[in-house]
Symmetry: C2
């Protein structure tokens, strides 16, 4: 389903080159549940952005659903990002002037759903993360963990078959975090593919495989169940 070959991502800072990824090759099967772990700054979010088609590599190839990502046109990329991939950002990336409901409706607006249907799907998604009573709060009127859950609801509202979650429980207490993990487990049982960056052992333990990243490279690929 997802295949990367020798992916490099290099940033230029003045005369300095920063190699965030240094040749990452991996394969993820349909319906796999994979955790990604590694030190701060080791390249996990950079890798997730490439896999989610939010960024392009400096070198190397990336296939998704059998197609080379670099050869997809804008419409195909837009469809992928909107309908097939759900992305939970490490720093949430919510629109500050929209409410929780408005933020979760956004992928449905891009999909062209009519207002009544959008509202209902967005409300269902917010109920799934236990934020039914916070729908009309804007991000500044929400706690850190509530904003994180709005980001999760937004990623799932279009029922994507690939869920990419970057530290989805970093701001959640253990009980709420466990509920999110139950939700992710259920999504995986229903056939979806999950890739979760995490630094928490309990979260990684839900996955079937842990890919360890260090210094922009795969250090170890560990099957845990």
């Amino acid at each position: 389903l997802i295949q990367t070959e020798d992916l490099w991502k290099t940033y230029l800072m003045g005369s300095e080159e920063i190699h965030a990824l240094r040749g990452v090759s991996l394969e993820i099967e349909r319906n796999e549940y994979v955790a990604i772990m590694g030190p701060s700054g080791s390249g996990k979010s950079t890798l997730m952005n490439l896999i989610g088609c939010l960024d392009t590599p400096t070198r190397g190839s990336y296939w998704i659903n059998g197609k080379l990502a670099s050869e997809l046109d804008d419409d195909q990329l837009a469809y992928l990002r909107n309908r097939e991939i759900g992305f939970v950002f490490q720093t949430f990336n919510l629109l500050p002037r929209a409410t929780a409901l408005g933020n979760v409706e956004l992928p449905l607006v891009y999909r062209g759903l009519p207002a009544a249907e959008r509202r209902e799907k967005a409300q269902d998604a917010l109920r799934m993360v236990e934020l039914a009573d916070r729908m009309d709060h804007r991000p500044s009127e929400l706690s850190g963990g509530e904003r994180q859950r709005v980001a999760i609801a937004r990623a799932l509202v279009n029922s994507p078959s690939i869920v990419l979650a970057d530290e989805p429980t970093g701001n959640l207490d253990s009980a709420t975090g466990a509920e999110i993990m139950n939700l992710f487990n259920r999504l995986n049982r229903e056939g979806n593919t999950l890739l979760v960056v995490t630094h928490e052992r309990d979260v990684a333990a839900c996955a079937r495989r842990i890919i360890h990243i260090r210094d922009g490279m795969v250090e170890r690929d560990e099957r845990i169940r």
Copy 2:
């Protein structure tokens, strides 16, 4: 050192009232090391903002250093926030157009230090959180955990005697998180007072006391060493 009496914080959303804090009374001694835990949305950050003099309660009283916070004038409050209290925000709150170094220098600018001394102190703080090689990166050019560490460095650069940290390791891998905990342990051994909101057991275990918050109230006050 810090004493709150029946603190309430109420937000008005249209006709609805949200009681983020419902009568919190607690005392924190000088040189104590206290962890605060509780479910998402239970009022932890709200409490931290009141203790850090970044916000005022709807009801109740708050004494810091024996003085009633509501009776301090603007200069006294500014001095407190700049020199006595170091605040690590749950969502970092970095200036997007300044570099890591510029962000860490900011409290020193407000203090009025000359440029050369500011630069040196800020560089030392960034070295303490292992970001010596990321000083000229802006927040958008940093990983999530690197931004979190810049926020920690900024909170500590004026050597405050009270450190308020809201989820300081939420975006850090276990090894980097442990290094930050070593840093906090050292600050406490040197006589400083630490109040750390966390959902991680290992982080709470470094403290001497855990205050459990639920629904805007203190549920339990647990001495652990």
